[in-house]
Each structure stands twice: as structure tokens, then as C-alpha cells.
């Protein structure tokens, strides 16, 4: 018994792989629609005047952000957890009926949550807080889903055979704890059904409506403490967990340095939380908090780069693999974009630079070189690595993967360069005074100049979406192909399954 390789059970991983792909398509399609709506406002009426209430830019924008964050990215995180977790802890989900049940329940409730979120955002039921739009009934569902994720993590850890936790597991744990804390505190709200008047009437109005526990500046402070760290524990920490597993695994290389892993991890944990103030520069929060946000943002470059450098150095001497394998290309370029956005962020966090960048498309550019180039690339790479092992079939087409890689890379580059120009242009135009000391431009002048850049961004986004559809097709063909014996797998990594 002991000598037979473990039979890992990927049932739950497969389920989340499915939602990763499906919600990725939905979220990015909406992103492309948004991008073109800003270039061509007639597209607010894509489905006609009658449905404009539901298809206009402002109704769709939260759907985009939430679909890609809570749909695509979270599903990706969970798909990889239910795959990586078993393997690095050396224990199979099949060994515990309880954990299997929790895993399936986790997925089922998640689906319910997705439906509730989509319906509520289409109807305009939102609290307006970015990345925390949901009203309290959905908050409760999300907390339950999150707790199930926690049970699954610690349950699996509890029955592990590998005593020492692998680096990826550190990051998954951090992700779980971070989001749990942030989400709870940012969503403290009082349902308005609790309000009662002297006439004894109560419970009227929309039952789901609530009012934030915090007001004004304090509300902003809590929201961006959350928002910034949602990026940390949603777009950074769990994605780093992925690369620490999939890159060495796929390439067969050992991690470059334990010490670097260690310092980067604890450095990131310590520094990240302090940097949230950079979303509130020049606002009404006290100067010292803003300064703290700026200072810690700059320090944050190093722990962020630490992980990226560790990954790049893991590939030392392995250029032939980078050249040959599209999968490794995704991961190496992903690390590069990670470095790019974690240098861009701190630069934008310097007060004087933020004076230009804040409120402009330069921030949107920063967001997407991170999410498209890093988060998107890593999640797709992870699924590509998992697919042959989970479905026990060859990847359908490697050349399709290569084409996809170049199309998407072009897409990301078009996206962030156009937003870079748009943001700096607009930021400077807002500030400009003419020779008489009057404002040089009315607001609309600073909007119409952006038209070409908005168009280019739309094209870049469309390329990325096309690449993603190629990815979906590739995965679909892989899973529906004729099963092969594991030993026949040609795309299997050097270390075997």
C-alpha cells in the first residue's frame, strides 16, 4: 500500500476549473464591451434602448470587476488549491469523506453565490464600494463559502503526510486569513429594516438594503484598507502560491533559494498591509497616514520582487525550456509583468506622481498589466499544467498555445501602453493653466483626446479575449479527447505527473 503512488482526487479541482474558464470568458467579454463603450458610447445601447438600463457602462462595470475577481481569479485559486494542496501535503481528498463533502459543498454554495451576485448587480443592487459591492445577504453567503475554504485548507493540512508546509501552502493560508479579516471588517453594515419610527412602522423598503457602519473619511479608510489588501490577498499572494508550485514542477528545476522565499514571504506579509494609504493620497485622511502609505509602498517593491527574482533564478540556465515550452513562457512573462506592476505601483504611490496618476487611466493601465499579464497568465498556465493530469489526456494543441501566447502578449502591451499615454495625457491636461492663469481645458476636452487610446485599448482587450477563447477551446478539446495512458503523455513535465 504505502509504496503505491497516491491516487489524488481532482473532482473538486475540476469543478473549479470549469468556473475559472466560464467566468473568465464572461468577465473578459464584459471588459471588452466596457472598453469599446468608452470609445464608442453608442454601444451603451448594444441590446437596444429598452435594455440600456442593464447594458450601459456604469451598470456593467462592477459586473466586470466582480466577475474577473470573484469569478475567474477566485475559481482559479480554488482550482489550484484543490490540486496543489493534495500534492504538496501528500494526502488525497479521497482519504477523507468529510473533506470531500466540504469541497463539494464549497463549490455548490459558490455557484449559488455567483448567481446571486450576477442577478443583484444587473438589478443595480450594490453598496457602491469597489470590490465589495454586495449587500449583506450575499456577504453572509460569501463568509460561509470562505469558511468552507478554510475548513478545506486546515482539514487537509490536519491529515497531511508531509510534515513541513511547502511555500505555496504558506501563501494559500495567508490568502485565506487576509481576505477573511478584511472582508469582515469592511462589510460591517446595518440592515435598514431595523429602522423603526414613532408610528411603530418598521421593516419597510428593500429588505436587503443596508447602511455602512462607517461614515465618510472613515468609510474610505476601511474600504481602501480592504481594497488594497484585496489586491494583496487576491491578486498577489495566491498567485505567488501558484507560481511557486507550477514553475518548478513544470520545469523540473529546484527553487533557487529557500532564504529568499522566506524573506519575501514574511516581508510581504509585514509590509503589504501598511501601504493601503496610497489609494487616498491628497484626500481628507490625515497626512501622516498618506505618508505611511507612500513609504511602505516603496519598501514593498523588494518583497514583491523577491518572489519574482526567485522564480526567474529558478530558471537559471534553462533558456531552452523557455524557448520550447509555451507553458513556461506564460510563467516567465507572468513574473516579469509582476515585477513591472509592483514597480509601477510604488512609483504611482509617490505623492507627486499620484497627483497626476490618480483618477486617470494610468491606474487602469497599472491594474491590467498586473491582472492580465500576471494573474491571467499564471492562472491559464496553472490550468494548462493541470489539465493533462486531471483529465488524463494530452493537451489538445501546443501550437494553439503558442499562438495564444503571442496574441495575448500583444493584447497586454497594447492595453497598458495605451492607458499609460491616456493617463499621463489626461493628468497633465487637468492641471494645465493657460497664459492668463485660467484652466486651459474644459473637462470634455480632456475626454475627447482619449478616443484613439480608448480604441487601442479595446483592440488590445479584444486580442486578450480571443486568446482566452483559444485557451478555453484548447482545454475543452483536451478534456473531450480520447483518454490516453498516463505513460504516453508527451507534454508531461520532466518529473512525470
Amino acid at each position: 500500500m504505502e509504496n503505491r503512488p497516491l491516487e489524488y482526487d481532482y473532482t473538486v479541482a475540476k469543478m473549479f476549473m470549469f468556473t475559472t474558464v466560464a467566468l473568465g470568458i464572461v468577465g473578459m467579454l464584459i471588459g471588452v464591451i466596457l472598453a469599446f463603450q468608452l470609445a464608442f458610447p453608442e454601444l451603451n445601447l448594444v441590446l437596444g434602448e429598452g435594455l440600456a438600463e442593464y447594458t450601459n457602462y456604469s451598470r456593467l462595470r462592477p459586473l466586470h470587476t466582480d466577475a474577473v475577481i470573484f469569478g475567474f481569479t477566485l475559481s482559479g485559486i480554488w482550482a489550484t488549491w484543490y490540486y496543489v494542496g493534495q500534492r504538496v501535503l501528500k494526502v488525497s481528498m479521497a482519504e477523507s469523506k468529510f473533506l470531500m463533502f466540504i469541497g463539494k459543498l464549497h463549490f455548490a454554495l459558490y455557484l449559488v453565490g455567483v448567481v446571486a451576485v450576477v442577478a443583484s448587480l444587473f438589478l443595480g443592487i450594490t453598496t457602491s464600494k469597489e470590490y465589495a459591492e454586495f449587500e449583506w445577504p450575499i456577504d453572509i453567503a460569501i463568509v460561509v463559502v470562505w469558511v468552507l475554504f478554510g475548513v478545506s485548507i486546515f482539514g487537509l493540512i490536519g491529515i497531511r503526510r508531509e510534515k513541513s508546509l511547502y511555500i505555496s501552502v504558506w501563501y494559500y493560508i495567508a490568502s485565506f486569513l487576509g481576505i477573511a479579516m478584511l472582508y469582515l471588517f469592511n462589510n460591517m453594515e446595518i440592515p435598514t429594516m431595523l429602522g423603526a419610527n414613532a408610528a411603530g412602522e418598521s421593516g419597510f423598503g428593500n429588505w436587503w438594503h443596508s447602511v455602512s457602519m462607517y461614515a465618510g473619511t472613515n468609510d474610505a479608510l476601511v474600504e481602501w484598507w480592504y481594497g488594497h489588501n484585496a489586491v494583496a490577498f487576491g491578486f498577489t499572494v495566491p498567485i505567488v502560491a501558484m507560481i511557486y508550485y507550477f514553475l518548478p514542477k513544470e520545469s523540473g528545476q529546484a527553487i533557487y533559494s529557500y532564504k529568499l522565499s522566506l524573506l519575501s514571504f514574511w516581508g510581504l506579509m509585514f509590509v503589504y498591509l501598511w501601504a493601503g494609504g496610497h489609494h487616498l493620497l491628497y484626500s481628507t485622511v490625515p497626512d501622516w497616514m498618506q505618508t505611511m502609505g507612500s513609504v511602505f509602498s516603496v519598501i514593498l517593491i523588494l518583497p514583491s520582487w523577491g518572489s519574482a527574482i526567485n522564480m526567474l533564478l529558478t530558471m537559471k540556465g534553462e533558456w531552452q525550456q523557455v524557448a520550447a515550452s509555451p507553458l513556461i513562457k506564460f510563467m516567465v512573462l507572468g513574473s516579469t509583468f509582476y515585477m513591472f506592476s509592483t514597480l509601477e505601483g510604488p512609483i504611482q504611490a509617490i505623492k507627486s506622481v499620484n497627483a497626476i496618476a490618480h483618477f486617470t487611466d494610468w491606474i487602469v493601465g497599472h491594474v491590467h498589466d498586473g491582472t492580465l499579464g500576471w494573474v491571467g497568465f499564471m492562472i491559464m498556465a496553472a490550468l494548462y499544467h493541470m489539465a493533462p493530469r486531471v483529465f488524463k489526456r494530452e493537451i489538445y494543441s501546443k501550437s494553439l498555445m503558442v499562438t495564444q501566447f503571442w496574441i495575448q502578449t500583444l493584447g497586454v502591451v497594447l492595453y497598458f501602453t495605451s492607458m499609460w499615454i491616456a493617463g499621463i495625457t489626461q493628468g497633465m491636461m487637468w492641471r494645465a493653466h493657460d497664459e492668463f492663469g485660467n484652466l486651459a481645458y474644459s473637462f470634455i476636452d480632456t475626454v475627447t483626446v482619449l478616443h484613439p487610446y480608448y480604441t487601442i485599448r479595446g483592440v488590445g482587450g479584444l486580442l486578450y479575449l480571443v486568446g482566452f477563447l483559444m485557451f478555453a477551446y484548447n482545454i475543452y478539446k483536451t478534456m473531450s479527447a480520447r483518454p490516453v495512458e498516463e505513460s504516453e503523455l508527451q507534454n508531461a513535465s520532466p518529473m512525470g505527473a
Binding site: 529546484a254 519598501i299 512609483i347
Partner: protein
Amino acid sequence: MNKLYLGGIIFTALMLLFTYMSVSGSEGGLNGDIVNMLAVAGAVALVIITVFVVTKYVRQMQTDTADGQLADEKWDGIGEYLNDLPMGWAILFFALIVWGMWYFVMGYPVNAYSQIGEYNEDSAAHNTKFETQYASITGDKLVEMGESVFLAECKVCHGINADGIDGKAANLNKRVEAKSVKHVVINGSNNKLLGMEMPMPDRNGLVNGATGAAITDAEIDAVSTFVANGMKGAGADVFANVCAACHGADGKGMDSVAPSIATFNPTLVANVLTHGKKGAIGEMPKFDRLNAKQKEAVGAYITNLSK
């Protein structure tokens, strides 16, 4: 030359070109604005540092080989070297932590920075600079300045050509439209057009000096067309008998009695900007945030339009 370096250089050059494009795209360019300069410096630094560092590591992928002592553990077959920290990284990390502590404990408090203080200094400098310039602006230059204010502040309501966008706001190319005159004569007006509380009576208070009776519907229509026509055509008699007492025989108004309804003048416009205006077309907000010179300038511009 190595393909990698070439690629790096091309990429850097492209990004610098894009940065240059954005700066020149804003027409004003850097504008001597320190904030603009820092932002551009940040963008340039970002590109150069990333390209430099990534090139360095890609070089190592191409030429170096992996080695070092392996740790005992393996996770799902993944090993781990016990290599030391990359020196540059470690030193920078340490240095930044020290800098951060220094900045927060010493640099920042000693500087006693306050963003509102900074704002006050900036606007004081801006104001002194332009107050000296304003003082000497007159004539065509003043009209030009007025146009710039108009295009930044007013065109969203009055339109680029000041034509009022199909009646959504006042057409400023002519003094007043028949619809507005009629509205004022019927309902009176109390918009502080003279800069002070001085209402015009409604139709019950407007008496035809010739007949001694209150103004009639027919007379209102006639006089409205007359005024809107630039004080020409039929209705001159009504104007002379009812309105001239206050607005003057030529409609150019009288100090402290009634405003000009034949032409615009800078004072009238300034009063509209100070108090706002509500009439037949809609409501015009007041513009507190414009200074006196700006109001004078835009007044000159508008007066010029209908000449």
C-alpha cells in the same frame, strides 16, 4: 549584439516615445510644473529599471547554470536550493527599511509637511504671478482671455459657439430672445442684473404711458419682437411708452434703474455671473469661483460676440 539587449533597447525606446507622446499630447507639455516632471521621471524610471533587471535575469537563464546545495525536503518532487540571498536585493531591502524608518521618524515630521500648506503656497504663487499680469490686460487681449474662460467654463451649457445649443441655454450672440422678453414682461424679473435687489414689475405694474392702461397681450407680443430684433421694427411705440422710462429710449439701460436690453456689457455679464439668473430658458448658476478679472474678461468676450 545580443538579441536580448537589442530587444531591451527597442522596448525602452518605444516606452520613452510613448511617454513623450503623452506629454506632448497634453499640448501644454511639462508646463514648468514640478508634478508633471516627477510623473514623467517616474514613468521613465519604471521602464528603465524593469528592462535592466529583467534583462539581467534572462541573461542568466541563457548563460548561467543552476547549482547549490539542495535542502533535504522535496514536495511533490520539487526541490529547494539553500542558496544565499541575492546580494543586491538583500542590501536594497535592508536599505529601504532603514530609509522608511528614518523618513517616518525623522524626515517627515521634521519637514512638517502639510498638503493644505502646500496648496496655500501654490495658489498664492499662482495668484501673485497672474495678478500682476492681469492688471495690464485690456482690449483684444482681454477678449482673448475671456474666450479662454468661456471655453473652459461656459461652453458645456452655452455651446462652443455660444448659441445656447437649441435653446437649452441663452444664445449669447444676441442680447435677448423674444421668448425671454415675453416671459420677463409677463412675470417680472428679480435676478439682480444690476448687481443689487431691483426687481422689474410684472405685467400688472407695466403701464402704457399713452393709454394709461396695463400692458395688453398684443402689446407684449409686439414689444417682445421689437426688443429681440435688436430694437428694430414694429413695437417701437410700445417700447417708448412702457419700457423706455426705465430702460432708456435706446434700450441701453440706466444706472441703478434698469439694465441694458439692447446690448451686452461687461458689468451686466459680471452681475449674471455673481448672482446667477433664472428665466424663460432655464437657470444659470452663479460662478463664485471666477475672480473679478475673469468675469470682466468673459464679459468683454460676450459683449464682443453680439457686436
